[in-house]
Amino acid sequence: MSFLPNSDDDIRSMCNEIGANSVEDLFVDIPSKVKNPDIQLPSPLSEQEAMHSLLRIANTNKRVCSLVGGGIYHHYVPAVVDHLSSRSEFYTAYTPYQPEVSQGTLAAIFEFQTYMCRLTGMDIANASMYDGATALAEAVLMAVRTTRKNNVLCSAAVHPHYRQVLATYAWASNISLQIVPYKNGATDYNELSHIINDTVACVVVQSPNFFGVIEDIEKVAHIAHEHKALCIATFTEAMSLGLLKSPGECGADIACGEGQSFGNYPANGGPLLGILACKKEFMRTIPGRLIGKTVDEDGRECYVMTLQTREQHIRRERATSNICTNEGLCALRATIYLGLVGNRLVEIARTNHTAASYCLEQLVNLGYERVFDASFFNEFVIKINNAKDVQNKLMDNGFALGILLETYYPELSDCLLVTATECTTKDDIDTLVKLLQTI
C-alpha cells in the first residue's frame, strides 16, 4: 500500500530539475557503508489485507463484563463525540501556531480550560498534559519551583502508578519524596501532621483515592498551609468532579489528574488526558499550553496561545516544562462530551455511585468483607478468600472482577478493588452474584 502520489515519471523529471542523476544522489551525505541496509519487516500489505490482519488480531482480544477501574474507567461515549472529533479539520491539524487558521482548535481548548476550571474549582487550567500521572509529576515540579523547597509528601493512597511516576521524576530532578501512610482507607492525617515541617514544598492527596475512598482534602490543605506548603489534590476519576466538592472549594492550590472518563475510551491505556489546574497566583509557573482570549485587528473576538514565554520553544532550558505535543484531540473529545451531557453529569455521577453501592451491598450479602468503612465513589475494596482464583474463574465466565491489590499493597492480601460505573447494569451485578454463588 502506498500513499505516494508522485509517479516514477514525476520523480525522474523532478530529479532532473534538481540536477541529480538519480534519487540516490540526494542521499550522498549518508556514509555509504551504512546506507540502504536490509531492513527485515513483513512484506507490505494492501489496505484490505491490513484490515483483515488487524481484525484477526483484534478478535483475539476478549470482551467481558468489566468491573475494573483503578485509574481508567469504562464510561459510555455518546456517538456525537466520535462523530465530531473525527472531522479532519480538527484531527489533521497541528499546534495552533497560526491562530488565524486554527480558531476551531483554539476555541475548543478555551472551552476545555473553562470546563476544567469549573469542575476543579480553580482559576486556571492548561490545554492538557499526557495523563494524570505525569500531570501530578509536573504539579509537584511546579510546587517545588514556586516554594523553592525540595521536600514532597505524598499519601500512600495515591494511585501506585502516579506515585511511581512521581518517584521517577523526583529522582531525576533531585527532589526528596516521602510517603505518608494510609489508615482506614484514607491518608493518615495524624501521621501527616507529625511528619510535615517547614521544609515541605507540597502535600499530595488523591480524592477519591486509589481505594475509591473520598478524602478530607480540606484537612490536608489546612495542614499543608500551616507549614507554608502547597496542597495538591489529584484524581483519577474525573466523573467524581460532577458530584463531589471540588478541590478548589476544599482549599487545594493545584488540582490535577486524569480526564479519560470524559469522552475517551479505556483502549488498553491510551491515549489519555492529563488535567492540570491551579489558583491564579501560579499562572506564570504552570507548564503546558494556555489558550487566551483576545481580538483580531477588526475587533473580532478570537483565541491565541498565550504566555508562551514559559514554554520550551522560547525559554528552552529555563522553561516550566519540556512539554510540546499534549493530548489535544482527547481534550476536544472531553469538551464535546461535557457539552453534550452538561449538568446531567451529576446524574451520571450519581448513577455510577448507585451501581457501585448496589454492587458492594450484594457482595457483602454474599459474605465478603468490606475492607474500608469510609465513604466512597464508584470504587471500593472487598476481601474474598482466594481472590486470585475467584478472579480467574470469573474471567472464564465473562466477568473481570476488579484489580488484585497485593502487588501494590502486600498487606491487602486477597483484596480486590472493584469498580462499577453507569455502564454496569443491575443485571450485570445480579448475574455476577449468581456466578459467585456457584464458584
Partner: protein, 478 residues
C-alpha cells in the same frame, strides 16, 4: 447573527439539555454525605443539535492536512491514512481495559510487541519502549536513562552537549534532569563544528543530543566522527528522531553510532497530529542501555505476551499504564502496509520533494545553506524588498490556501522559514506552492501593503497576542 467566536457557554439555556441517563433500577444504600458533595454544577446546558452545529462550525475555522498542503518544517505533516483510524475505532481495541491486558487483550499486546520489534528493525536499536506519550516525553525519558546509566557506573557527569540549532524541548528535557546544557555551534556549512565539539569534550560530558538530519534539514557529514569523539570519551550519543522521515529505510540510526533515540509516531509514522496531540514518542536503545528502560517491559514467553516488572535497574515508570495505545495501533497499521520497501520510498520521495522546492525557490529567496537538503530546508527574509518579513510571507500564504511553514526556527538562522513538503504532496501541488511564493515575492516588490496587512481571507485576521499576554483571559466568563 451568530458571532464567529461564540463559545458553547453562550448557547446555554435552561431546559434545552435532554441528555438521558439510564436508570440503574435500584436505590443506593450508601449515599455520599452532603458535606462531601459540591453545590450546583454550572456547565452549559445545550441541545444535541447545538453541540453538533457548534463544533461543526468550529471545525470549519481550522486548517488541517486534509484541507491543503501543510509544510510545517520538522513536524512532518503527511497524509494520515484513514484505514489507521478505522482500525483504531474497533471496539475490540477501544473497550479493553489496561489493567486486564495480559488476561484479556493478548491481541493488543501482540500489536505493541510487534511494533517494538519493527521499530528495532527500522532503527537498528536493540530494544524499544512505547511508553512515552510524545517526542518531548521520549526525550525526557532518554535523558533519565542517560542519567541512570552513569549513576550505575559511578561516574559523575553533569553536562549534555546540544547544538545551537536544537529544538527547545532538548535543553528543556536536559534541565528537568538536573544536567547543564553546553551549546555547540554549527559551522557555516550547517554541520556541527567539530573543533568546538572536541574542545568541549571532557569527562564531565554525559552525552550529546543531535537531531538527525538536523533542524536545518541537513545531514551532518561528520556524524560518525561525532559518534567517535563521544564514545572514546565514554559519553553517549542521543538521536532526536523528529526528522526520521528523511532517512527511514535509508540508514539505521544505530549504524551511525547513536546509542539512544526517540521517534515520533505522529510524524514519521503517519498518526494524526490531533490539533496538539495525542502523539507518541517511543524510545529505542542499544544493548548496554536496556537494563534502564522504563517499566513495564512488554515481553513474550511461549507465545504469550506478558508485562515484565522485574527490572531492578529501570528508571521506573514514566506514564500510567502503557502509553498511547490507539496511536501505536495506527503506526503499526501504517508500517505493516508499507513494509521496508514502502518506508524507504517515503524517505526518497520526501527528500526529492524538498530538494525540488529548494531549487525552485532559491532563485527568488535567500537560501542560507545551498547544499543538498534532506526532507526540509530553510529560507529566510534576507534581501526581501521593502523590509517584508518572514512572518508577513507566512500570513500571506494563508490567504492562498496553504498552511504556513515553520517560522523563526531554528534560532541560528535569522528570520528562518523551514519548509517540509513531505512525500504525500505531488508535483502539481508543489508547483502551485512555488508559484504562490513567487507571487508573494512580486507583491513584496509592487504591493508591500497587502503583505503587511495579511492575512485577508482567513476567518480571523491578525490576532493581538500582546493583549492576550498582558491581560490574560484564560477561561470564559459571563
Amino acid at each position: 447573527m451568530v458571532s464567529t467566536m461564540q463559545t458553547i457557554f453562550s448557547l446555554h439555556k435552561q431546559g434545552r439539555n435532554k441528555y438521558t441517563v439510564p436508570q440503574f433500577g435500584a436505590e443506593s444504600y450508601d449515599p455520599i454525605p452532603q458535606h462531601l458533595c459540591r453545590g450546583e454544577l454550572n456547565l452549559a446546558d445545550v441541545s444535541e443539535v447545538d453541540v453538533v452545529r457548534h463544533y461543526r462550525r468550529l471545525s470549519s475555522l481550522n486548517f488541517g492536512v486534509d484541507n491543503g498542503m501543510y509544510p510545517l518544517g520538522s513536524c512532518t505533516m503527511k497524509y494520515n491514512p484513514k484505514i489507521n483510524d478505522a482500525v483504531a475505532s474497533l471496539p475490540q481495541f477501544t473497550q479493553q481495559h489496561p489493567a486486564t491486558i495480559e488476561e484479556l487483550s493478548q491481541g493488543s499486546l501482540h500489536i505493541m510487541y510487534s511494533l517494538q520489534e519493527m521499530l528495532c528493525a527500522i532503527t537498528g536499536m536493540k530494544q524499544f519502549t512505547l511508553m512515552p506519550a510524545a517526542g518531548a516525553h521520549g526525550e525526557l525519558t532518554s535523558v533519565m536513562i542517560i542519567k541512570k546509566y552513569f549513576e550505575t557506573k559511578g561516574e559523575k557527569r553533569n553536562i549534555i552537549l546540544i547544538p545551537d540549532s536544537a529544538h527547545g524541548t532538548n535543553p528543556a528535557s536536559v534541565a528537568m534532569c538536573g544536567f547543564t546544557v553546553k551549546e555547540i555551534p554549527s559551522n557555516s556549512d550547517g554541520d556541527v563544528d567539530i573543533d568546538a565539539l572536541r574542545a568541549a569534550m571532557d569527562n564531565n560530558v554525559a552525552a550529546m543530543m543531535l537531531t538527525c538530519p538536523n533542524t536545518l534539514g541537513l545531514f551532518d557529514r561528520n556524524i560518525m566522527t561525532i559518534a567517535d569523539i563521544l564514545h572514546s570519551n565514554g559519553a553517549l550519543f542521543y538521536c532526536d528522531g523528529a526528522n526520521l522521515n528523511a532517512i527511514v529505510g535509508k540508514v539505521r540510526p544505530a549504524d551511525l553510532g547513536f546509542d539512544i533515540m526517540h521517534v515520533n509516531l505522529h510524524k514519521t509514522f503517519s498518526t494524526p497530529h490531533g490539533g496538539g496531540g495525542p502523539g507518541s514518542g517511543p524510545i529505542g536503545v542499544v544493548e548496554k542501555l536496556t537494563p534502564f528502560m522504563p517499566v513495564p517491559v512488554i515481553a513474550k514467553k511461549d507465545n504469550q505476551f506478558y508485562l515484565d516488572y522485574e527490572r531492578p535497574q529501570s528508571i521506573g515508570r514514566v506514564h500510567s499504564y502503557y502509553g498511547n495505545f490507539l496511536v501505536m495501533l495506527r503506526a503499526y497499521t501504517y508500517i505493516v502496509m508499507l513494509g521496508a520497501s514502502g518506508l524507504k520510498q517515503v524517505a526518497e520521495h520526501a527528500v526529492v520533494n524538498a530538494n525540488y522546492l529548494r531549487v525552485k525557490l532559491q532563485k527568488h529567496f535567500n537560501l542560507p545553506y545551498t547544499r543538498i537538503c534532506m526532507h526540509e530546508f530553510v529560507i529566510n527574509d534576507e534581501g526581501m524588498p521593502n523590509g517584508i518579513t518572514t512572518n508577513e510571507i507566512a500570513k500571506r500564504l494563508l490567504d492562498y490556501g496553504f498552511h504556513a511553514p515553520t517560522v523563526y526556527f531554528p534560532l541560528i538562522v535569522h528570520g528562518a522559514m523551514m519548509i517540509e513538503p513531505t512525500e504525500t504532496e505531488h508535483r502539481d501541488t508543489l508547483d502551485a506552492f512555488v508559484d504562490t511564493m513567487i507571487a508573494i515575492k512580486n507583491e513584496a516588490n509592487t504591493n508591500p501593503e497587502v503583505l503587511k496587512a495579511a492575512p485577508h481571507t482567513t476567518p480571523v485576521r491578525k490576532v493581538d497576542a500582546v493583549l492576550a499576554a498582558r491581560k490574560p483571559v484564560l477561561k470564559w466568563e459571563e
